[in-house]
Point group: C2
Chain length 381, copies 2
């Protein structure tokens, strides 16, 4: 196994880097499952892709040579919900499966991961998607999607959404893939509209700049602290052309308060490839916080109020880079809900991503808080 | 594991039964790989479906509970070619895959099984199909096909076929699935047309009626002994309605000399469900030999010249019924080429099918001649 600072492009184009320095974690106050709220609002509702991931049980070889596969829950926003649940958050997923045994499996599996699957409904006539990957550590993880003629998760319809619950969630998370086809596109934009309209997003708490990992403690009922995250999640095979995507990405960014993406994804959304310029373009498009995953150069986060955090990669023996971005996303949500400073949030998310990159699985590999702490203390996944 | 005479419906509707009595095998002369010919003609060319089969490594549980899968070459006509190759026959497959690692795997795997893959070509833009199954022995093996929006093997085109080689093959084997969509339908019918036109099929050698397993020995150069097999292979999910299929099934039967199918498949082709009536209807539709697989009641074979063979099932501890029909088909080809009597051919094919039913895999489970002999001698798979 090569040792590498995790951060090369994987097949999703996930490009984060995991910082080894800093973050001691001594000043963290992790939120309880419900985030300390008295009400029924979810800490996190994600909306979008789900499927069965089939991962080779032999790594470093082509699919042509793999003799057996393990079966895992997959799909980026679903994994983000799993990652946040592992960190103690109350989460739910809005998505659809086929009406088949794989669909049953996904609903059951979400439940076992502590994610509410009440909004995961079956679609007749479309099989639950499966995705194969090849595992060539440290930086090559091609994906082979079986989502044709159409994935059930693209059959999400506005009229079937629980818009009150989506509006009330402390964080609502959508991805670019949900915009690639109707009726999912309209449903996704409608859900974002509920967020933008009824629940104006107050600014982040004051962030800590520079090298300190100190941040604010989570301060109990955090009614004022809501986030709407748009994960740029660019999968070219789901789109005719990047130009088609950009129109809808811009519309989503107008409703979101946080944008997360790697350089390729930022370019699709904004036309910019230079990280700081891309971050500024995302802010200009409407969000308050732009998180740019730069591979070996680390992660850059820029807030509209002027706060900037840039954190380096965590050294890691990469086993499978897939899912690291989802671990990053789940931990990002956890840190935002906790009210930590920007740099602390990024270090924490980086560490969570590095842990998953060091493991074969995705969903079942999502770290518990103590595991993230150990990496933040030891500097190594 | 339940013990059952193999013969219940599997998800393909494969319905054969494996006879335990009779067949001693003492009078068999197995053909060499080339069937003793001096020329370059193949013993068997099959045309149609191919894909990657993913079989649960845990049996008796729903796909929802399966944690890992093994990867195997699949697709009925491809497996028939593998089965005949295992019995020493020179075989080739005409089919198409995606241009992806699974497609490479299938070409390589055919070669390793001794099947010529020169006519297995990649199609851009369509993934190699994958098929999952559930394994509930002894009689329930649901299949989950991922062949949408279109399987590459349905992109076979008449203009790309080696019609001279197809015409010259001692046996040419097609299946009903190849008729479910264009351009495969036109290509399949064109290939059948070459068989019917240029190469009139002489009658079977005199067959042995009644309980004796004796048959004719293979007599070296067998220029006169050619067969064109239509495997009725009814997969309802690939068709709008049975009535649509029947039109094309009838056209194929006009060109074929042998028809093979279970009761459901015979009904699609002829409207008849009573085995003898179905066999007669197949003969009336144009073939010389009708093989009706009747599940627990065994196999019925009726020849136009009046010969009839009916053989009972072989008792078998069924592990996975999938692939048993393909083993039956490959052994049927072997027996026809060997020039055996009708009953001997059926007993031999039944035994080969029972062996595969007693194993998890399909392609890699196809029996060698000595294994079939042992079953014929011992009466048990």
């Amino acid at each position: 196994m090569d040792e590498a600072p995790y951060g090369s492009e994987d097949s999703r184009g996930y490009n984060s880097a995991y910082g080894s320095e800093g973050g001691r974690g001594h000043d963290c106050a992790y939120g309880a499952a419900s985030g300390g709220e008295g009400g029924a609002a979810y800490d996190l509702i994600t909306m979008g892709r789900i499927g069965v991931d089939l991962y080779p049980l032999q790594t470093g070889v082509s699919l042509a040579k793999v003799s057996s596969f393990g079966k895992f829950l997959g799909g980026s926003p679903s994994n983000v919900a799993v990652a946040a649940a592992r960190l103690g958050r109350r989460t739910a997923v809005v998505t659809r499966t086929g009406r088949d045994p794989f669909g049953e499996y996904l609903r059951t599996e979400l439940g076992e991961f502590g994610v509410d699957a009440r909004w995961v409904t079956p679609v007749d006539g479309l099989p639950t998607p499966v995705t194969f990957c090849e595992v060539f550590p440290p930086d090559d993880f091609p994906l082979y999607f079986y989502r044709l003629p159409k994935a059930p998760d693209l059959e999400l319809r506005e009229g079937e959404l629980d818009l009150a619950a989506i509006g009330a969630a402390r964080i609502f998370w959508v991805t670019g893939t949900g915009l690639c086809a109707e009726p999912s596109r309209g449903a996704t934009l409608a859900a974002l509209g509920v967020r933008g309209g009824s629940f104006p997003t107050p600014p982040l708490p004051a962030v800590t700049l520079g090298g300190s990992a100190a941040g604010l403690r989570e301060d109990g009922p955090a009614a004022g602290r809501r986030f709407t995250v748009f994960d740029l999640d660019w999968r070219p095979m789901f789109w005719e052309a990047p130009e088609v995507a950009r129109t809808y990405y811009c519309e989503a960014l107008r409703h979101a308060t946080v944008a997360v993406g790697n350089i390729d994804e930022c370019e699709v959304a904004t036309g910019e490839r230079e990280p700081r310029a891309a971050a500024e373009a995302l802010l200009a498009a409407g969000v308050e916080l732009a998180v740019v995953k730069q591979g070996p150069k680390g992660v850059l986060a820029v807030h509209r109020d002027g706060a900037v955090a840039e954190v380096p990669p965590v050294p890691v023996d990469v086993v499978n880079g897939l899912g690291a971005g989802d671990a990053f996303g789940g931990a990002l949500c956890h840190g935002l809900l906790a009210g930590w400073g920007l740099e602390r949030v990024m270090r924490y998310a980086n560490a969570a991503g590095a842990i998953v990159a060091s493991r074969l699985a995705c969903s079942s590999a999502m770290p518990y808080p103590a595991e993230v702490e150990r990496v933040l203390e030891g500097g190594r996944a």
